[in-house]
């Protein structure tokens, strides 16, 4: 029993240490960019734009497909049940609840973890192994500012944009099907949809996606930095970072949902 407590205690301390390390990357990279030396800002801004392009623009196609298909599926499943009770009017509300409040942010985050999270962990891991991080430091380049900051802000901006886009296209999928399948006129459907969409829902969607974006950028960088000198550590770091990122995304999603919707 004592051993069990000891193990739990050690694990707890490890987790606190881990979270402290990850949070430190976020806080210090922002401080460095906003309040540190001005030198390097131009170069960092260019990397930031590339990161938004890579994470956001290049993911648009897959996000569009998945969002529309998901919107279709949700509408098919709900209408088949709701029409039995004559409650087709609730379709709009269900689309809002599922796509804006929950599935939109979570699924977008999962897609970005799969595309960008692994790419970031692998990139930073390879940079560590190839002594590129040391090379940057030897040139007087702040690695928090050069590596962490543009990824943090770039991935966060891209995640917010993609999540809004996902929710919009998911709803569009629902609209397409509804217009084909149901007897509800589109104008009425829009009315139902927008009367159920509250400003708070949009703000929470942005809050969730901003937090998910920060997690997706920071955890892979943290694991990439933690690699010592062997290239065999790189895939391990990528896998670990994906698992950890997903766990933290689900934890924060539950916390935010519980705070705002209970």
């Amino acid at each position: 029993m004592k051993n069990l407590f000891e193990k739990a205690g050690k694990n707890f301390i490890k987790q606190i240490d881990y979270m402290g390390g990850v949070a430190g990357l976020v806080v210090f990279s922002i401080i460095e960019r906003l309040f540190g030396e001005r030198r390097g800002n131009k170069v960092v801004n260019q990397i930031l734009i590339k990161q938004i392009f890579f994470t956001g623009w290049e993911a648009l196609f897959i996000i569009t497909i998945i969002a529309i298909l998901l919107g279709l599926v949700i509408t098919i499943q709900t209408t088949s049940q709701l029409t039995k009770f004559g409650a087709e009017n609730l379709i709009g509300k269900i689309l809002i609840i599922t796509l804006v409040r929950e599935l939109g942010p979570i699924l977008t985050a999962i897609i970005i973890v799969g595309r960008s999270g692994t790419a970031i962990a692998t990139e930073i891991g390879n940079m560590t192994v190839a002594h590129e991080i040391e090379a940057l430091e030897s040139m007087g380049i702040d690695t928090l500012k050069y590596i962490m900051f543009p990824r943090l802000i770039g991935v966060t901006i891209a995640t917010i944009g993609l999540t809004v886009y996902f929710a919009a296209f998911g709803i569009l999928g629902g609209i397409i099907l509804t217009s084909l399948q149901l007897s509800i006129p589109l104008s009425k459907f829009f009315n139902i949809l927008f009367s159920n969409l509250k400003l708070l829902d949009i703000l929470i969607l942005i809050l969730k996606s901003a937090i998910f974006g920060a997690i997706i950028a920071t955890i892979p960088v943290y694991h990439g930095f933690k690699i010592r000198m062997s290239s065999t550590e790189v895939p391990q770091a990528a896998t670990k970072s994906v698992v950890r990122t997903l766990i933290y995304i689900f934890i924060f999603n539950s916390i935010i949902t519980a705070i705002f919707y209970i």
Binding site: E37, R38, R39, G40, K42, V43, E123, N126, M127, A130, H131, E132, E134, A135, L136, E137, S138, M139, G140, I141, D142, Y146
Partner: protein, 230 residues
């Protein structure tokens, strides 16, 4: 050269071991280097020469002992002071350590662009000049993965020289290079040294450096075995 009043670098009772290791890779290292010296550090493989060079360059931390650079103790030095120190020095890595997602031109330009010392036109002019010197006009838009190991080394050298540092640390600068590239690298190192740049070189090719060094430090049994001066 040693008649100058203060040494540029002073190493006192330096010990070092990597995290997780039980044994020290460097033990009780002591020496001084004066401004403008041409120092060659040599010794058998695995004696910690590259580790020592990285400590001298502020890339690895000073844990036990002291390391003074212009009277600044690098042991426990703050981030701002360390960055300032890095901007006065350059490091040529054994395995080049070029930034893999930047092409040859941008790799050489990176320290100038980041530190915003010159306007972009001046940076372009300087980088083009170095690209000519290392004969890489045709490959300037290539990523490091698509050029040879020797070419990578030359790019790494150009990146170190372009910032006109007061001290340059070279880790095996001529290893794995053909004769022409070796001569080019040796010329560039000598040229800089003649202009007063302190050169600290880890190398095995002693006969190549013999005509030039002013101080020779040999490491053996993980400590300084002998120091020769010219």
């Amino acid at each position: 050269m040693e008649n100058l009043t203060e040494p540029l670098i002073r190493v006192e009772h330096l010990y070092f071991k990597y995290p997780g290791d039980e044994d020290y890779i460097l033990k009780d290292i002591n020496f001084e280097i004066y401004s403008g010296e041409y120092v060659v550090i040599s010794g058998p493989r695995g004696e910690g020469k590259s580790t020592l060079l990285k400590i001298l360059a502020g890339i690895l931390p000073v844990e036990n002992g002291n390391l003074f650079y212009n009277n600044l103790n690098l042991k426990g030095v703050g981030k701002k002071k360390l960055m300032k120190f890095h901007r006065k020095t350059s490091f040529v890595f054994q395995d080049s350590a070029l930034i893999s997602n930047l092409n040859v031109f941008d790799n050489i330009a990176l320290p100038l662009r980041y530190n915003e010392i010159y306007p972009e036109e001046e940076i372009q002019r300087k980088v083009e000049n170095f690209i000519k010197i290392i004969n890489m006009e045709c490959d300037k838009n290539q990523l490091p993965a698509f050029i040879s190991i020797g070419q990578r080394k030359l790019v790494s050298l150009a990146r170190a020289l372009i910032v006109e540092p007061e001290t340059i640390f070279y880790d095996e600068p001529i290893a794995n290079l053909d004769k022409a590239s070796r001569d080019l690298v040796l010329n560039l190192i000598n040229e800089r040294n003649k202009k007063g740049v302190t050169s600290i070189i880890v190398a095995h090719e002693l006969e190549e450096f013999e005509p030039y060094w002013t101080k020779f430090i040999e490491l053996k049994d993980r400590t300084v075995h002998k120091i020769l001066k010219k």
